[in-house]
Symmetry: C4
Subunit: 275 residues, 4 copies
Amino acid sequence: MTKPNSNWRRKIHDIIYEADTPAGKFFDVVLLFLILLSVIFVMIESVRGMSAKVYDYLYVGEWIITVFFSVEYVLRIISVRKPFRYIFSFYGIIDLLSTIPLYLSFVLAGSNYLLTVRALRLLRVFRILKITRYLGEANRLKKALSDSRPKILVFLFAVLIIAVIAGTLMYLIEGEENGFTSIPRSIYWCIVTLTTVGFGDIAPATPLGQFLATIIMILGYGIIAVPTGIVSAEYSKAKDYVHVNTQSCPNCNAFRHRDDAKYCYQCGEELNPET
Amino acid sequence: MTKPNSNWRRKIHDIIYEADTPAGKFFDVVLLFLILLSVIFVMIESVRGMSAKVYDYLYVGEWIITVFFSVEYVLRIISVRKPFRYIFSFYGIIDLLSTIPLYLSFVLAGSNYLLTVRALRLLRVFRILKITRYLGEANRLKKALSDSRPKILVFLFAVLIIAVIAGTLMYLIEGEENGFTSIPRSIYWCIVTLTTVGFGDIAPATPLGQFLATIIMILGYGIIAVPTGIVSAEYSKAKDYVHVNTQSCPNCNAFRHRDDAKYCYQCGEELNPET
Amino acid sequence: MTKPNSNWRRKIHDIIYEADTPAGKFFDVVLLFLILLSVIFVMIESVRGMSAKVYDYLYVGEWIITVFFSVEYVLRIISVRKPFRYIFSFYGIIDLLSTIPLYLSFVLAGSNYLLTVRALRLLRVFRILKITRYLGEANRLKKALSDSRPKILVFLFAVLIIAVIAGTLMYLIEGEENGFTSIPRSIYWCIVTLTTVGFGDIAPATPLGQFLATIIMILGYGIIAVPTGIVSAEYSKAKDYVHVNTQSCPNCNAFRHRDDAKYCYQCGEELNPET
Amino acid sequence: MTKPNSNWRRKIHDIIYEADTPAGKFFDVVLLFLILLSVIFVMIESVRGMSAKVYDYLYVGEWIITVFFSVEYVLRIISVRKPFRYIFSFYGIIDLLSTIPLYLSFVLAGSNYLLTVRALRLLRVFRILKITRYLGEANRLKKALSDSRPKILVFLFAVLIIAVIAGTLMYLIEGEENGFTSIPRSIYWCIVTLTTVGFGDIAPATPLGQFLATIIMILGYGIIAVPTGIVSAEYSKAKDYVHVNTQSCPNCNAFRHRDDAKYCYQCGEELNPET
């Protein structure tokens, strides 16, 4: 491939994949705007009973966005070094799926239902967010959540077992005539109740069922404290790590130095780089 | 403008805008009382099926309050140094809007619907609160919230994206026959579920829909931990920063000095300014 | 009054009002048991469609309890030093009200509805709890709550203002045909939504209303973080006070001594008793 | 009993009761899988309107699992040293109950309803979990909960009393025509409301009832902060206590030593045993 050409490809790559150049930033913003727009279009289209004109406009709008997305998709492929890695990546597949449907709509009708796939493109926003000042918060949030994953898994596991057992009991107590038509359904009800959502599409009618429901509710009411406790603990911990760390000075063992500390605040000894 | 006149205007200004004089305090209390009263009137008036007498009394009461508000509005204008800044300020517009409707009711009927605007005058209560002993708490609350704004924005953003994607899925799964008549509507349902409100005006009917709903609920149940963690972390932080900080004395390493500490509480050494 | 008599009165007083003697403990337990029993009786009686026999038993049981309560009431009066202070105290009035109804039932029918007043006697449980090992927790809980009262008031106040304003808006948007028949009613709906209870007896039907509802829900979802943050902050603070206090040593100003500390942990100086 | 035989029994014991040998691990995993499978079978069977073939397959599957469970049960008995302790233990009874029903189904019809008992076998999962890396978290969770039991009991107690009193009031206010047909039922409603579940199967219709409901909701909204505060406090405490304590070195006043510290990390001075 000729130098200028590869040069031309690098330019595109910088614009599409990088965000530190003005052009890159601009592209990201435009992309973000179009993704949101496309999602809004899909939403509006799903609303019944609008004037035919609206649908025409939407149709045109979707075509414009589809063309843009297609071009973007092609450029992404030709500008990246390892095209296949991108094509078969999560985002690559979503990008493809969000362009195809409209083309398909010529061949088979109703396929523009699939346009709803575009909602998934919103996830790309998280990538674009990377360039914003919210990066820090997002990371901290992610860190707090990922750190507390084992805790949360144990917690979820306990919730599910409670739901299964309580659901089975409710099925036996209330039975089909009160809407608990099957165990899965009454497990669904249990989770609706444990999470304090309480749709009310199913509700216990027998005194015994209502008594059990009461216990489930109070249980759920107390349980909600656990993830909160977990996350807030993790969170404040995560916040601590921002300010101080636990390494100790090789000389005087003073600890809890700022992360950016080069020297011990107590004896001035140089600190070992924290891993 | 003559001195006594400006003197007279300053007096009014002190009464209306300041609150440290007895007259000012009294005025604020009266105003607060009348605002609450006007809101209560508007509420009662919205209740159907009362004796005509009640509505007559309400009508009279609203006129009295309207006159008071009008006079107050005029006084505010003439007593303030920069009238236009007030007129076009948020509170200025609300104050105007809360007087006009009744006058309009002569010209066009049903315009006293607009009286509900007076509810917004309740916001002025926050101003008046400033003079109460709750100021500290209010500020701390505000500080904790404003400090955690970026976190909360990231959080809200994640919630919205989850709602959009899950809502789209529910729309495809449940379809119109189960009440998910459009994507916006099923996004509305998703948020109802994520926030554990669960009206039950729409509820999934298909097993697959109920399964997805279960995931959404547990997600929401876990997610609620995040803002709590954030705010409580911010909150306790806000509380700590009031009292002490983590800098250590260059001389004796004593720590947890008050933020306003100039000298070490232990050895009197001058402290380095905390960054 | 003769010595033995006053002696006899003191004995009763110790039994009824004190709890450190075995007799006192026993009396408290019996009383607690009877209060619970009387409440259960009132509950069962409210359940329709039972065999007449049950109601007969309940009737007898209520008479026995009523007699016991009456005797207790009289004894309380004659055994206490300042009878009128007791008679007109909160508990005194409840004690009276929980005995009268049944006697009244001779005079006027249906007055035994008032028996439900006995539910209030449950509050006495809190007094009796005083003697249990839960005293510490109860106090800590009470302390944490009372300490955070100003915060909670500010918070509640904000919630109410939001509810009033949002309720007024919903009333204007949704109107009567969608169940928002009056402003008070839609304020009620707003609080149902803000608190994430979501009965669903009223639910927004118009897109605009649902959009506003969405905002209210997310607001409520975020707001719930505030009291949690407040209480948990207060709570952990309360817990701290158990371990250490903030008095400083008169000699070396070291602080955060254990509450039970007699001497400074740093210089051995005797500490001033903490008030 | 002969040595080889007891040897053979020990082998089985190790496989069934222990989990540190590969065979033991494998057995646990298989058991876990079968328990889940059996629960899923019971669930599916409870779903109406499937092809007869499915039920046939389920029937076969349940027989296979039942046989396995029976064999396991027998092996557990013969391989354990004190059989009766196991037989009459909680898990022993559940294990028995989860095998019997199918055998009973020959004698009396519909007894395979009792198969739902198998859901309780899920509790065994907690035992098997013991071998996983989640042990730490599970224990910490359990510790945090058990430590805060007294607090939670006091809290639950307060909630119940509030529910009883408020429920009685709602019963008097709303009465039977609005669904509050009895005091127990309106207590049920109160807990549904306090826990912010809000099914909406019962909802206040009178203004006064709605006003009281509002208070209950806000109460519940605030109350939810308490368990959260408790658990998160306990939780972070549990986490802290793992790492460090607040005792200070008698020699150099260094603090935040590990609980297992014998000597000061800073000067090597021997520490006083922390009480």
